[in-house]
Structure formats: structure tokens, C-alpha cells
Amino acid sequence: MCLAIPAEVTKLLPDEMAIVSIDGVSKEISVALIENLAVGDYVIIHVGYALTRIDPEEARRTLELLRELSLEGQGVAP
């Protein structure tokens, strides 16, 4: 019930709907909960709705931090 997945917006449709692609599989979802969405944005979808946009810059920063943290326990300076 809580499982939700990231998807890329590939087409905006009328009535606050959009087509998203999940690993190449297309799905029609509602984007009524998100303002100013653009094609190419990534969103998290849940029960057929985009809940939020994914911030690419924050994602990159988290991945960088994860790499650093994973090295810390091995006595390796990141």
C-alpha cells in the first residue's frame, strides 16, 4: 500500500494527467498534486498520482555522502 516508485514524466496530458515511464513501461498518472511539472522531471508515483518531484541535485548529494560514509567504517579517509 505504501510502496511507491520513481518515474520519468514523458508527456503532459490535459486535465492534470501525464504519461510517465518506469524503466520503459508507460503509465498514465495524475499530476494534480504537483505544480509546474515538465517533461523530463522525475516524480514519485503512488496509487496513480505523482506525490512529489525528485530533486536531482539532492539525489546526487545523497549518493556522494553515502559513498563517503561507506568508506569511513573501513578506516579509509574519503
Binding site: 500500500m1 505504501c2 510502496l3 511507491a4 516508485i5 520513481p6 520519468e8 494527467m17 518506469i22 524503466d23 498518472i29 495524475s30 494534480a32 498534486l33 504537483i34 505544480e35 522525475y42 514519485i44 503512488h46 496509487v47 496513480g48 498520482y49 506525490l51 512529489t52 518531484r53 525528485i54 530533486d55 536531482p56 539532492e58 539525489a59 548529494r61 545523497t62 549518493l63 555522502l65 553515502l66 559513498r67 560514509l69 561507506s70 568508506l71 569511513e72 567504517g73 573501513q74
Partner: protein, 380 residues
């Protein structure tokens, strides 16, 4: 899958596990509750518990909306679905949830009730448009993540002037349930669970933001780290909690910054507050009545409220006395402590709701954890 696979890297996970091990104090326990069923699922699925030191224990909380829906609400929905004029639209996970005396929506459907599984509230609207001569009722359930889609649906029904459409509202709120776990009076009967920190819900927080959890950090002195659902997200969140505990801090931190902000999704929150208001109390399976934890439609939308429209009476049903869901939802017991686990209660024939949803503690343990128990028994 972009923004998923990168957060599943095994090498980094193993590195994080080492860092966690290096930073935990072997002389003290670290007991963290993940409130959300999505986290329970991820922990079981990726075997995260096996990567943690023995003194770091994950406690699976009540955060699966299917698991906490009381049997009485299922009975109410079945009664509704048995009326010939009604088409009941439900999310698929609800079909097997046990009502009283083994009843379920699946069995009601087999007996002829018109119950349709929908993926999205948009589907329910389409069914209403296609069947103007019938009454369409949407069985709305879920935390703060599924509530905005229900709100959008009601707004859409209004815009389309659908007069054959209503909602059986079972939406609940996470913060009051978290509070209930920490301070409910009947914890005396079940036993208090010691919690050193919370892994805060990911998708609920995309909507409500991190701010509502500041209360827990301040009032209860518990650290909260909002975490994404991928295995690396969870490992990082656990490390962040370990650090807070070690440093005697209790703050709200946000690991899932790529999707969650402090304020959340303002548009979604606005939709919800336009249409819903708090119930004085709502019953949770295993937790009992929790004050101000459920939502109902505002009076202005009463025509879309199935409980008003069809004069539905509240039904209260006692849970199966052998089912330990109540203690499991609070993290006091583990699935294997229930004597029904894996014998009479399996995902095929669930006795309690923790076995129904794949995010429930019992189902997650059934699917991914029981082999580990077996291995551990053999090893010891």
C-alpha cells in the same frame, strides 16, 4: 530504474554496515522503530537486519494502513457492497483483509457483491461515469499519501457533477498513532516497547513534510530520521540515528532530501484540508481508538460521504483473541511469537491484518525472514 538502482549498491551497503558497526557502542542497545510498512518491507526484502550489529534492533511499527484497519470497518464495507445498487471500488490489498468471522471482501465478491479493484481513484471516477444508474462507493484508506488522491477525486466528482458517487472514508494520520505508541494507557497490558529513535516515513513525509515530527523529537526526546525506501537510504538513516543516540541528540533529520522538504507538498495539504476534517477518534486494529487520528469529509461535502448517504452504522468487532497483531504493531512482539504464525495464518489464509499486506510485519517475515530463522536455528 533511475533514482532507485543507485540506492541499492551492495558494496556501499556493506561499507555502511561497517561504519555502523564501528560507531555503535557494544555496551548499549539501539532500538529503532520504523513506523512505515514500506520500511518494514525493505528491511525484510534486502535482509538489512543481517547487516546490523546484534545490539541494533529494528522494531516494526504499525505503519501499514491495511494492517491497522479494524475488522469492523471491513464488515461495514461488506454490508455496503451487498446492496444491489452499489459498486464498491477498493484498492487490491483490501480484498483479503479479514472482517469478523473470517469474512472478507473477496468472499463477498465471490458471493455476488459488485466489488471492483482499482489502481487509482481516477479509475473509480471512470466507473462512476460509465455506470450512471448505479451508486459508486470508493473505499478510501491510507495515510497522508493516499488522502490527497481521494481529495482530488472528490473535487473531480464535483466538477463532473457526478451524483452517483461517494466515499467510505478510512483515512488515518501517522503522528497521532506514533504518539499513541509512546504514551497509550493500555501499553500497561501489552507491555511497553523501549524505543531509542524513529525511522520516519518517506512518502507520508513527501506530503506532510518533516515539521510534524519535530514534536516527537522535542516532547519525547526521541531522534527521528526521515528515510527513503531503498536499502542504502535505510542504512544511512540507521547510521544517522546511531550518531544522534551516541551524541545524546534528539532532532529531526532528513535523509530523504531528494523528495522531502520541511513543509511537504503544500498543494496536497491544501486539497486535504479543504475537504476533510478530524474525527474525534478512530479505531486502529491493534491500537484501539486513537484520538484525532482519523479523517472524515467536511459537512459541506456530506453528499459524497457514504457513511451519511447510506446511513452506515459503526460496527465494532473484537479481533481474533489468538492474533498478536496488537503487540506486533507496537513492536512488543515479533511475528514468530504468535502461535498462529505460519500454521493457520499465512498470506493465503490471513487471520490478522499484519499478514495481509506485503508491508505487514507478519507477511514480510513470512516472505523473506522465515528462512533466516531456520538457518539461525540450524546454526545454533
Amino acid at each position: 530504474m533511475k533514482y532507485a538502482d543507485e540506492f541499492r549498491d551492495k558494496e556501499i551497503a556493506l561499507g555502511l554496515a561497517k561504519t555502523i558497526r564501528a560507531e555503535t557502542d557494544p555496551g548499549r542497545p539501539y532500538r529503532f522503530m520504523e513506523f512505515c510498512g514500506g520500511h518494514t518491507h525493505a528491511i525484510s526484502r534486502y535482509g538489512l537486519e543481517d547487516m546490523l550489529p546484534d545490539n541494533v534492533r529494528m522494531i516494526h511499527g504499525p505503519g501499514c494502513p491495511v494492517c491497522v484497519l479494524p475488522a469492523g470497518r471491513i464488515d461495514m464495507a461488506i454490508r455496503l457492497a451487498e446492496r444491489s445498487e452499489i459498486i464498491l471500488c477498493v484498492y487490491g490489498d483490501l480484498m483479503r483483509v479479514p472482517g469478523s468471522q473470517g469474512a472478507s471482501l473477496l468472499k463477498a465478491k465471490a458471493r455476488g457483491a459488485d466489488i471492483r479493484m482499482v489502481y487509482s481513484t481516477i479509475d473509480a471516477i471512470r466507473i462512476a461515469e460509465d455506470n450512471p444508474e448505479r451508486e459508486i462507493v470508493f473505499f478510501a484508506i491510507g495515510f497522508e499519501t493516499t488522502t490527497p488522491p481521494t481529495a482530488v477525486m472528490i473535487r473531480l466528482a464535483e466538477k463532473k457533477q457526478l451524483s452517483n458517487f461517494s466515499v467510505f472514508c478510512n483515512h488515518v494520520l501517522t503522528p497521532p498513532a506514533m504518539q499513541n505508541i509512546l504514551e497509550s494507557p493500555d501499553i500497561r497490558n501489552i507491555g511497553r516497547v523501549e524505543i531509542d529513535g524513529f525511522v520516519g516515513p518517506a512518502h507520508v513525509s513527501t506530503i506532510i513534510g518533516t515539521a510534524p515530527y519535530e514534536f516527537f523529537a522535542e516532547e519525547f526526546g526521541k531522534p527521528v530520521v526521515i528515510s527513503g525506501f531503498e536499502p542504502l537510504d535505510m542504512m544511512q538513516a540507521i547510521l544517522m540515528l546511531v550518531r544522534q543516540v551516541n551524541e545524546n541528540r534528539h532532532e529531526v533529520e532528513n535523509q530523504y532530501s531528494r523528495a522531502v522538504t520541511r513543509d511537504g507538498n503544500l498543494r496536497a495539504k491544501e486539497e486535504v484540508s479543504d475537504i476533510f476534517e478530524l474525527r474525534d477518534q478512530f479505531e486502529w486494529r491493534g491500537l484501539g481508538p486513537v484520538p484525532y487520528s482519523g479523517l472524515k469529509l467536511k459537512r459541506a461535502y456530506a453528499r459524497y460521504d457514504a457513511e451519511v448517504r447510506f446511513g452506515m452504522n459503526e460496527l465494532c468487532v473484537d479481533d481474533n483473541p489468538a492474533c498478536e497483531c496488537g503487540a506486533i504493531l507496537r513492536g512488543v512482539k515479533k511475528p514468530v511469537d504468535c502461535k498462529l504464525f505460519g500454521t493457520v495464518c499465512t498470506p493465503e489464509t490471513p487471520m490478522g491484518s499484519c499478514m495481509v499486506s506485503s508491508e505487514g510485519a507478519c507477511a514480510a517475515h513470512w516472505t523473506y525472514g522465515r528462512f533466516r530463522d531456520h538457518q539461525q536455528r540450524r546454526a545454533s
